[in-house]
Symmetry: C2
Subunit: 214 residues, 2 copies
């Protein structure tokens, strides 16, 4: 490795680090507060990065929140692409898909609020990106699994759009509802066991709900 | 009716009107914006009631939002009480219950965001009121219907807490997701027909999901 390699590589690595460091700070603040309402000065204080740099990397708050949203969702869309190519049965694909969404929302319980916020406030640029990059590929993947199940005679035909809202809402609300979980049910944190129990319950319930009856 | 009756009644009637007028203004602003972030001056401008009166009626913003939340949820809890006393089968009770929640969220799509906001930010007073008055009675009603179904041999036993998050999430997300509905699915408004289609789909799916298999 020459001195020149080091000189040209280091700034890139540190840019990646600073960007990721900022996103981790926003992620943590949003999860702690349970609200997506965080200011540049909160983020600067938490990350130790000054707010001029936040502007440099993300332009404005919407740009920062969009990057946070992509960071949370893109990996699970990548998983969906892989899942669709597996030789598994449609039932198993659906189970893996539901487990994947529950896990994503468990890790990033703010995802739907953030998406909703950007769709309402972020302007047309973000609307198109969210729709084309994040919502449609997920919905399309579900539709392919449902269609495959119908063709193989295991699922009854259902409207994929209605199915989408049912599944996403159910997966999301469990993690998002952690405040009511605590107060109404005395559950202070969603342990891995409880998450697994929810996944098992939800997979059984949703699959029973669409299986073609003998 | 004496002059005294009129003199003592009128202020009460007008108080009710002003209070309701303020709640309608907040309701409309939140629905239009898709966000619960409204200021006293926005409300004053929309309602034509000055902001000193908002403080007089509700104390502070949390008090106002709590009143809005109760206005949205209490009627459906009243319906739940009536439903539990009907001679209907557990399946029919569950269908009516699901239809009731979808209708409530369709009319007040902000309910869960508002509850979440008050649980996160409203302080202990609101936590207790929301938990005891709004969340627990609804969850308890569901549990009674599920239990009745298990006793009559029509439902398989499921964890009522997991069922609660499944049903509430699915009912809520459809109305809350109206922005993504528009962009990702080209559905510009949730018509009564589409709402009925969702209720029918969801009732079938959730009931099939918990029916005891023959």
């Amino acid at each position: 490795m020459t001195a020149r390699d080091v000189a040209t590589r280091r700034p890139q690595a540190s840019e990646v680090d600073t960007r990721e460091q900022l996103l981790i700070a926003v992620n943590d603040l949003i999860i702690e507060r349970g609200l997506i309402d965080v200011s540049f000065s909160d983020i600067a204080q938490r990350s130790g990065v000054n707010s001029a740099l936040i502007k440099y990397y993300f332009g404005n708050k919407a740009g920062l929140l969009m990057a946070l949203l992509e960071r949370a969702i893109l990996p699970s869309l990548k998983q969906m692409e892989i899942l669709l190519k597996l030789p598994d049965s449609p039932q198993d694909k659906l189970r893996k898909h539901i487990m994947g969404i529950v896990n994503t929302y468990h890790r990033y319980p703010y995802v739907n609020r953030l998406m909703h916020y950007l769709l309402a406030e972020g302007g047309d640029k973000y609307k198109t990106r969210i729709t084309e990059e994040l919502v449609k590929p997920g919905a399309r993947g579900q539709e392919i699994i449902l269609q495959e199940g119908v063709e193989k005679g295991v699922f009854r035909p259902v409207n994929p759009m209605l199915f989408y809202y049912h599944v996403i809402g159910a997966c999301d609300h469990f993690s998002h509802g952690r405040f009511s979980l605590k107060h109404a049910f005395g559950v202070h944190s969603i342990t891995d066991d409880l998450k697994r129990e929810y996944v098992a319950y939800l997979c059984d319930s949703i699959l029973n709900g669409i299986l073609r009856k003998e």
